[in-house]
């Protein structure tokens, strides 16, 4: 069952409709667990963060002013809760200081023929035989995700893992559209590079 729009959902929740609460709890908790993992290191603490968030949501429902969507509001509570618990110094990299997302050695240098163009085409990837990802590919993606700076990881999880729109992600993380896109771009390029390394090694029949 899909979650109804806020204008139907909110009055039901405020009226104590527990079917409505069970619906959002089941629909949103998986995404919340994943987002919590950006800020805390274990699945157990992520589950605690999600539980604490829902308790705050239950307590705060009557005071919710509706300036954002309900889900955005819930996600913001989640992020604050997770950051408080994570207690990690967030690794914020100034966007202006970031270099190219593809190793410059992949392109011909200045003064060479076809400067700025591929030296060699990116190596082809195997076409997946089924739609499900192999466990190894999934592990590599998880490793790449874990290695990303916090803000890149949050954007990538929301946009590509969970499929939120750019506008939703900007609202949840309180980012400008341009910054959101820079973070997404860098994060995607890093995961693509990790997969490229993996497929290159697998193709040569040796682990790297």
């Amino acid at each position: 069952m899909s979650v109804p729009p806020d204008e139907t959902l909110l009055p039901r929740l405020r009226a104590g409709d527990d079917d409505a609460f069970a619906l959002v709890l089941d629909a949103w908790s998986a995404g919340m667990l994943r987002l919590a993992r950006v800020y805390v290191s274990t699945p157990e603490s992520a589950a605690e963060v999600v539980q604490e968030t829902w308790l705050a949501v239950i307590a705060g429902l009557d005071g919710f002013a509706g300036r954002s969507s309900l889900r955005t509001w819930v996600y913001r509570i989640l992020i604050n809760t997770a950051k408080r618990r994570g207690g990690r110094e967030s690794r914020t990299v100034p966007l202006s200081s970031l270099g190219p997302t593809v190793d410059p050695a992949a392109f011909a240098g200045p003064g060479e023929p076809f400067s700025g163009h591929w030296r060699e085409l990116p190596a082809p990837w195997p076409t997946p035989e089924q739609h499900t990802l192999s466990a190894e590919v999934r592990d590599r993606i998880a490793t790449a995700l874990a290695g990303l700076p916090e803000r890149q990881r949050a954007v990538l999880v929301l946009r590509d893992v969970q499929g939120h729109t750019s506008a939703e992600v900007c609202a949840i993380l309180e980012l400008s559209a341009a910054n959101q896109r820079v973070l997404l771009h860098r994060a995607r390029a890093a995961v693509r590079a990790e997969l490229a390394t993996y497929f290159a090694a697998a193709g040569e029949g040796r682990p790297r």
Binding site: A30, V50, V137, R138, H185
Partner: protein, 81 residues
């Protein structure tokens, strides 16, 4: 070759996929794509990466936590009092 260099193309991929390039930049991007196998492959690999990310398995809230939350909701709305 179009005026766009491959090293510039790869930095525009996300804007292109979001439909955020201005019309002129988008035309240059597509012109380059039509002529360059390497960049076509790069764009496909980014698309593959995005769809692989969307297929990662979901975590679930442990059942006891779910039950605790449902009962907290009922208590708040006074039904369980």
């Amino acid at each position: 070759m179009s005026e766009l260099r491959c090293e510039q193309f790869v930095e525009l991929v996300t804007e292109f996929l979001d439909g955020a390039l201005d019309p002129r930049a988008e035309r240059e991007f597509v012109d380059h794509l039509a002529e360059c196998d390497g960049c076509g492959r790069y764009l496909d690999q980014v698309r593959t990466t995005v769809s692989a990310l969307g297929e990662l398995p979901e975590d679930h809230l442990p059942e006891p936590a779910r039950a605790t939350l449902l009962s907290a909701f009922r208590k708040k709305s006074g039904r369980d009092a």
